[in-house]
Amino acid sequence: MSEPSIEAVHLSRRFGSFLAVDDVSFSVARGEIFGYLGANGAGKSTTIRMLCGLLAPTAGEARVAGFDVKTAPEAVKASIGYMSQKFSLYLDLPVCDNIDFFGGAYGLSGPDFAARADEVLRLCDLENEHDAITGSLPGGVRQRLALGCAILHRPAVLFLDEPTAGVDPVSRRLFWRFIRRLARDGTTIFVTTHYLDEAEYCGRIGLMVDGRLVALDTPSALKRRYVPGRVLSVHGRNLAPAAVSLRSRPGIITVEPFGAGLHLQVAAEDWNADSVAQALASAGAQAVEVESGEPTLEDVFLAVVARPREVHAP
């Protein structure tokens, strides 16, 4: 079939002695929603900046929408949309002037642009905010405008860097509905996020740790691979000391504090909800309730992040 929308091959970026992105390779198909997860400073933004042609790679190559980011950054820029967590808009200008400027920046003009601007305002539900000063709008509306400005020129690839930071849950839900529709219509989405529940919307997920891409797969495959066994969530009182004693027992894979309770990952053949409850109660915990749950991406994240540390331990 057609070539991938985004292709990174041994991509690296060094800042002085710090290797921000270390030999990262992946490819994203057209219309795919690709999630890029990792802690702050793991190299997510640096990767995006290289793919957008804002930052030259130190080594390796990347092609976006068919153009090499090193040799044809202008063509790359013309084919992509970019929206960052800062919703970088001109806050002192009204909504329509922001649309006008970014449209012009992508070379749009004339009646075609006017029609497209109206269409985007309608898509992003901004028709009533046309003349409002951007700085006076709440975060959710600014986010929609930032997205609107990024898709004016119908980009083949849309980069979203923490697109929902600081936005209320309702707006986040609407935002993702819109993103999924864009992807269905053939736009490739590359998104970084802190919200692991949002990552579930992604077709595939790449996990960055210390500049390296340590895992890459669909959310369910990642869960199967990194969270084997049974996941149990535990509530009760006086759990912490009991958890310590539980940790050393065979068949207990991980014990992580999770909210007010615990998240347990156990070998399915050794443990079930009842036996865990009994073990905790006999170790001093009270009012113990154990539910078996689905592994979340948070479990995956914790499992993956813990792994390299073990490797590096002396």
Partner: protein, 380 residues
Amino acid sequence: MIARPRWTVQLRAVVRKEVRQTVRDRRIMFMLIIAPLLQTVVFGFAVDFQFDHVPTLVVGHDASAQSRQHIRRLLADGTLRDAGHTTELSEVQHKLQTGDAAAALILPAGLARDLAAQRPAEVQVILDGGDPNRAVVVAGAASRYFGETAEAMVKARLAARGIAPPPLIRATPRIWFNPSLKTPPFMIPGVMTILLVITTTLVTAMGLSREREMGTLEQVLVTPIRPVLLLIGKMTPFLVIGCFDVLLVLTAGVWIFGVPLHGSLLLVATGTVLYVLSTLGIGLLISTVSRTQQQAFLAGFLFAMPAILLSGVMTPIRAMPLWLQVVTFFNPVRYYIEVLRAVLLKGAGLVDVWWRLLALLGFGLTLLTVASLRFSKRVA
């Protein structure tokens, strides 16, 4: 294949956005429109290098009619003003210290008698050197008056003996370009110069730093606009506003302060555009080395102050030590003020100022090139 966006569309978008932002920002509009007028009026009225009516204390130890006549005549030409009479030296000290008087004229006892008896007489002029320029003016006025008096006395004496006076050499000052020695024709070009360096440099430096601070710069840089095009688009409105400011100050200067317009306005406009290229270039350069608007503002002032002082706007370059005079050759402000004064006041033409225009062009292009290279490099 993606069609390359048309640069004209992109440039227009940047210019339009910049104008809209500027028009909406009251502080900037004040800086660009009201401040020039205010400066013109303040500088025009307040800055006066002419010293009129310098308060002078008269210490008359000689009560003769002749002494009184000297005092009357000396005060009559308007340079000096009578600030009171006394016979006490302590009062002279007191009044010079408080600033009630800036000079004291001491006519010794027996002045008329000594002269009549063919003995030399001496009039003492005590000056407050706190303001050197003023002291020089007063000393000049006093020596001129007594020089002329002495000459008249010699002539009278010779005539009384029936001898024709010998021919004398006399300097006859004839002042060109600004015959009444008014300050505004000298200062208004200075105001234009100072104004442009402050507004265009600061506005450019802060404008780009603001975009960096707000994150909009990054957002613009992921669009296919080339950095150079962005810079040109951002500067164009300020080039226009700079020219408008010059026109504004010049108009006010001509109407209110009678600044002469001897030379070609086209030449003034050319000089202005070339000069603004330099000041915009400096603003841009500053914005590439500063992270925040505050830093940019401070850096702008740190540049503007010495640049103005070393330009000859206020004080003559010839009065500076040689090594500083050399430094002024690298100061675009110097060339612009020289062009303005030469063209406006003296009617100088292109043949007289071409090399200064060339210097301005050189500065402008160099600064803009260095700044945009730095800018593009920082972006990448």
